[in-house]
């Protein structure tokens, strides 16, 4: 088959009124020279009529695949399959979700369905938050904390409505929920489109870009009991031990672990091994080659509920190669 690169898919989440529609309108109307299809939810407010817009109903289906938390967006499997029949390659697909949506089923769709997997790749989850109202939203909805926890990129929008102090507090709360996301501070979602789409966030090399916070061990008061645990390990990892440990961990604790990501130094491999998971579904692949002069270490991040840092650290340490 003539192999073409999988089409990058960006998932856009955020509470009602945070600014998702503003962002979508920009993607659809700006002269950025690329072709993005936009899948909007049926209650969306896109004021543009455009052949690149498709309406969807957020149909979340349970899969009978033995994975107890495995839900997918059945409508997306169909809509994306249809979009890929069009002549001419799309530069990307952007999926809007409703304010109350759990991002997991959207992300899981790209792991579970083989036909979608073969042609499209989850690029990143972008979450828009409203600087002024984030604190209140975190109080009254658990969805807001989950959307932040799942994100690869977070837009703190409506910056003009908060002071520098308030912003610092907001960022601290976001970091406590998600230590690895890239944060953009915006007004009216004004961030270059290139900084949001086609980021290959799921390739994970970008985790290194937020290194300073990566290893932050913190004791914040956490929102809705979502916490994060970041681990670092010197020495090479035994891939078989790691696979056995992470598979068992996600199989038994995958409902609580929303996201996990890692970059590993595998014994006997010249390349970084990058891995990421959404709940129980994971994928791993070879990443960038280690440079000769570079210190090699392994890093793992877990975001979720009821995480026990000591248990995770001990489990990870036991994966060291003999």
């Amino acid at each position: 088959m003539p192999e073409t690169a999988p089409i990058p898919v960006t998932v856009l989440t955020g509470y009602l009124g945070a600014g998702k529609t503003t962002l979508l309108n920009r993607v659809l109307s700006e002269e950025h020279g690329r072709k993005y299809a936009v899948i909007v939810n049926e209650f969306g407010e896109i004021g543009i009529d455009n052949e690149l817009i498709v309406n969807a109903d957020e149909e979340v289906f349970e899969m009978n695949n033995g994975c107890i938390c495995c839900t997918v967006r059945g409508d997306l499997i169909r809509i994306i399959g249809n979009l890929l029949k069009r002549k001419g390659q799309l530069d990307g697909i952007l999926i809007e979700t409703t304010g109350l949506a759990d991002p997991a089923p959207v992300a899981q769709t790209f792991f579970v369905d083989e036909e979608v997997r073969a042609k499209a790749k989850l690029d990143s989850i972008v979450t828009v938050v409203d600087a002024k109202h984030l604190a209140a939203r975190l109080e009254d909805s658990h969805e807001t904390a989950e959307q932040i926890a799942f994100a690869d990129t977070i837009l703190i929008n409506k910056l003009d409505l908060v002071s520098a102090d308030e912003l610092a507090q907001i960022e601290a709360r976001i970091r406590a929920l998600n230590p690895t996301a890239v944060i953009h501070r915006t007004e009216r979602c004004l961030v270059p489109i290139d900084d949001l789409l086609d980021q290959r966030a799921f390739d994970l090399d970008r985790i290194l870009a937020v290194e300073p916070n990566f290893l932050g061990e913190d004791d914040h008061q956490h929102d809705d009991a979502i916490t994060s645990v970041a681990l670092r390990q010197d020495g090479a990892i035994d891939i078989n031990k790691f696979n056995a440990w992470i598979s068992a961990l996600l199989r038994t604790r995958g409902q609580d672990i929303l996201r996990s990501k890692g970059i590993l130094n595998i014994k006997g491999s010249p390349d970084r091994f990058v891995f990421q998971a959404v709940h129980m579904l994971m994928e791993g692949d070879d990443g960038k080659r280690w440079r000769r002069d570079e210190p090699r270490d392994s890093k793992l991040v877990f975001i979720g509920r009821n995480l026990d840092p000591a248990e995770l650290r001990a489990g990870f340490a036991a994966c060291l190669a003999a």
Binding site: M1, P2, E51, I53, V54, N55, D57, E59, F61, E62, M63, N64, N65, G74, D75, I77, R78, I79, N82, L83, K85, R86, K87, G88, D113, E114, E115
Partner: protein
Amino acid sequence: MMQACDNPQIQVPPRQELSFDAAITGLAFLAEGTLATGLGDGSVRLIGPEDSASPRTVQPHREGAAVLALATDIDGAGIVTGGDDGRVVRTDARGEVSVLMEFPGRQADVLAVSPSGGLRAAAGGREVRLLDRAGETVGASADHPSTVTGLAFNPKGKRLAVSHYGGATLRWTGKLIQGATKLEWRGSHIGITWSPDGTTVLTAMQERELHGWRLTDHQTMSMAGYAAKVRSMDWLRRPMTLATSGGDCVTAWSFTGGGPMGKPPLEVGSGLGRLVTCVAVHPKNPIVAAGFDEGQVIVCALSRQEKVVRLRWPDSERVIALAWSYNGTRLAVGTEAGAVSLFDLSKGLPA
């Protein structure tokens, strides 16, 4: 699945090759012999029986949209297409186009035509609409639990089966709203077919299996073990057999002698390719054509004494559609890369 076929018969029938610059998404013959081809650019190409080297281009759908569903219309003199511009359109052999219905902002990817009932059905989102011969809407219902994924009429065109998440809904075409029968089975159902004797409704499932309901005695059936989702199903009338894609060969379920329950399927054309993507049963003989994901096309008898003729060799391009002409003398093949192969089999078939 089964043992490889030792020596497929090699036959080189007269053939014609055409190539288009968008994916082939659907194929159907008209009664007079014209081949209608739906493309990923929203166009339909009409390939006449006498002048097949110079197809005519018609644009029933918006440029840039894709034709997503295609079927021969009630009269056999035109086709009905659904597109991702939300339109459902009739195109006749002369290239005249008339829009039958529109689902704004939706993809019209599901339709069915019943020549015996004189009806066309199409769906966009959760809504199903029914049109008569004249193009008048005679019924509509949006009472489905999810997006409609498949439509199938019963043989007389009196009933319509609608697949969706959680099962299927059977409706009477005379009064679409009242008296719907729910057929429930947990999971995502992605396509539907009605047996030619009217007794059984079967769905293809996201979970790579078929599920069936026998309407006469409420017995249900599950056929699992597929390597991929079943995207293509077609019936042999006698002995009643359902041929399906989704395996490394044609998987055919016999509905005679108490089957398919408790009986293994007939597997024909194994050892020749990786994945069957498309099947089409010959209109007159117990023969099936099968296309593979690597471009091969075979024709074989639906029997234990399988005879296999390989018509098309692998070219790494997935076969998307197959269609037999009305009299069964020509077979059309369409691929994801935009190739159409047209075989003249009037001088020989393998059975």
